[in-house]
C-alpha cells in the first residue's frame, strides 16, 4: 500500500521527527542502566535505538537529496500533502477516537451503532435508512457471533450498566 512515489509532502518533516524520536529513545534507553555493563537491562534497548538513529539519519538524508534533485513543484507537493492527510482521514480518526473513548462509558452496542451509523453515512453516502439498516444488521451480527458464539466479553458501559 505504500506505493512507489518517492516524494510526499511532509516526508522531510516526518524523517526529522523520526530522528528526534530515535534520539529521545536512546536517551531513555541510556537512563535504564547507563553504561554500567555489557549485559545490563539497558544495553539492548540502546542498541535498538542506536540502530534507529542511524537508520533515521539515512532516511532524512535520502529525503533531503530527493527533494533537492527534484526542484520541488509546489502544486504537486500540495496535492501529495492532501494525499497523505486528506480531510476524510482526519474526520475518520476523530470518529474512531470518539468511538473508542465512548465505548467504556456507554458500552459496546451503543457506541458501535453510533460509530457505524456516522461513518456509513459519511463514507458511503446512501439514504439514511439504508445506513441505519446496515448498522443494525452489522451490530447484531457482531454481537451474536462474538458475544454469543465465541463468548467474547464486550465492554458493558459504566454509565448505563446492565442496560446494554
Amino acid at each position: 500500500m505504500s506505493g512507489n512515489s518517492p516524494k510526499r509532502q511532509g516526508e522531510r518533516g516526518f524523517s526529522l521527527l523520526l530522528v528526534v524520536f530515535s534520539v529521545t529513545a536512546f536517551w531513555q534507553s541510556y537512563a535504564i542502566s547507563g553504561f554500567t555493563g555489557l549485559s545490563t537491562a539497558g544495553v539492548f534497548p540502546m542498541l535498538a535505538s542506536a540502530t534507529m538513529i542511524a537508520a533515521a539519519v539515512c532516511i532524512l538524508v535520502e529525503s533531503l537529496l530527493e527533494s533537492h534533485d527534484a526542484h520541488a513543484d509546489v502544486t504537486v507537493d500540495q496535492k501529495s500533502m492532501q494525499s497523505v492527510l486528506p480531510m476524510r482521514l482526519v474526520i475518520m480518526v476523530l470518529l474512531i477516537t470518539g468511538y473508542l473513548v465512548a465505548m467504556p462509558a456507554i458500552g459496546f452496542l451503543l457506541s458501535s451503532a453510533a460509530f457505524l451509523l456516522a461513518s456509513f453515512s459519511y463514507l458511503w453516502r446512501k439514504p439514511f435508512l439504508v445506513s441505519l439498516l446496515i448498522t443494525v444488521v452489522s451490530v447484531a451480527s457482531v454481537y451474536i457471533i462474538f458475544r454469543k458464539l465465541f463468548q467474547v466479553v464486550l465492554p458493558n458501559g459504566s454509565l448505563i450498566q446492565g442496560l446494554f
Binding site: 505504500s2 549485559s39 544495553v43 540502530t51 457505524l116
Partner: protein
Amino acid sequence: MGEIVSNLSMVWTDPWLLFLTAIGTLAGIYVGAIPGLSVTMATSILISFTFKWPVNDALALIAGIFMGGVYGGSRTAILLNIPGAPSAIATAIEGYPMAKRGDAGEAIGLTTVMSVIGGFVGIFALAMFAPVISSFAIMFNSRDYLLLGLIGILLVGTLSGESFAKGAFAGALGVLIGMVGLDPMTAEGRFTFGNVSMMGGIPYVAAMIGFFGVAEALVQLHQLDVAVVRQRVDRIVPKLRDVKRYLGLALRASGIGTIIGALPGTGGDIAALLAYDHAKRSTSNPEVPFGEGCKEGLVAPEAANNAAVGGAYIPMLTLGIPGDAVTAVIIGALFIHGLKPGPLLLVETPHLFWFIVGALSLANICLLIFGLTGIRIFTKIVECPKGVLIPLIIVLSAVGTYAIQNNPVHIYWMLLFGIIGYFMKMYGFQVGPVILGVILGPMMDSNYRRAMLGARGDMGTFFWNFVSHPITLVLSIALVAMLLSQTPLMRWFNRWRTARQRR
C-alpha cells in the same frame, strides 16, 4: 507411530474441530480475497478471539485462516486485477488477462487445484523436515538465536520495503516496543515512566491489530472510489489435461515455495514472485506469451505461495522464529496459549505438532472444496463497498483488541499504533518488520545477554565466539553478507565491476 496417526487424524474425526477448520478456511478465503483485508489483518483480528479457547480449537482455526487467506488473494487478482494479498501479485499478471478473455472460471479452477497441490507439498515438507531441524536446532546456542532473530527482521525489512534504512528502522522500532515493561531478568523498568500500567509491557496483540488492521483501514480511505469491473465466470473445475500438463511445474514451484517459506523472514509473496520467474525462465514455448494470460505463469506462483504456508511453519515451530508477518502473529498466539515454539516444542508436545500437520492437511482439502464452489456469492461479497468495509474493520479491530484482557487501555494503544502505522505506510515503511521486532525483540535481548554472560562480559570473547563455532560462524557470515549487500559499498563495487567489464 500410533500416537502420531491419532494426533494427525484428531482434527478429521472430531466434528467441532472439523467445523472450525472448515470455517477458518472459508473465512480465510473471503478475507484474503477482499482487497483491503490482508491475511495478516485477518489472522491478527480473528486470532484474538481464540485466546480463551482450548489450544486445539485455536490451532485448527488458525491453520484454516492461514491456508485460506493465502489462496484467497488469487481470486480478486483474477477477477478484479487487484491482488487481495501481496502473494497474489504475480497471479494478477496472468490471471486478469485470462479473465478478460472470458476464462475467469478456468483460471480460478486451475489456481485452486495448484494451490492445493502446493499446499500438500509444503505440509509434507513440514512433517518430514521439522523433526530433523528441531533435533538439529537443539544444538543452537543463544548467539545463534540472536543471529537468527536479526536475520529474520532484516530479511523482512529489506526484501519488501522501499529502502534498507526504512526496513531497519521499522525492525528496530519493533524491538524497542517489545522492550517496554519490566525486564524479565532483573525486574528493572524499561520505558515505563513510573507508570504501573506500562510495567506489564505493551500488549502486542494491540500492536498487531493496530499496525495491520487499523492502519490498513486508514490507508484504504484513499481508495474509496475505485470502481469494480465485473467478470463472467463459467466452468470452474479445471480440465484433467491441464492439471497433468502443469503438474511438473507446480511441483517445482512448490519446492521453491517451501524453501522460501521456510527461510526466516521470507514468505508467500517472495515465493510467488520467484516461482513466477522460474516459470518464465523454464517455459520455452508457452501457448500464450507471459503477461497475456499464460497458464504457466498462473500455476507457478499459486502453487508456491500455498507451499510457503507449510514451509513457514517449519522455522516457527522448530526455532521459534516466525517466517513472515503472518507467522509472527501466529507465534504471538502460540505464546499466549502457553506454548513455547522452539526446538523443545517437538520434544515436549509432539502431539501438538502432529495435530497442526493434520489441521493444515484438512484446511487444504477444505480449500479444494470451497475453492471450486460459491463463486457467485463470492463476487457479491468482494464487491462490498469500502465505505461499509472500513468502519466494520475498525469495530472488529476494537472487539479483537478488547477481547484479550478486557482492558479498554489496549484499544487506545491499538488506535495509536494504527495512526503510527498509517504514516509509516504512507511514507514507504513496511509494518511487517515492526511486528517481527516486537515478537523477536525480547527473545533477542535475553539471548544477547546470555551470550554476553557466557563470555563473562568480555567484548573480545563475545565476538570471538561468533567465529569460533561452526553454526554461529555460518549464521554470522549470512548476516554480514546481507548487511554488506545493502550498503552503498556494494553498489559502488557493482558499478566498478560493470565499468571494468565494459572496458
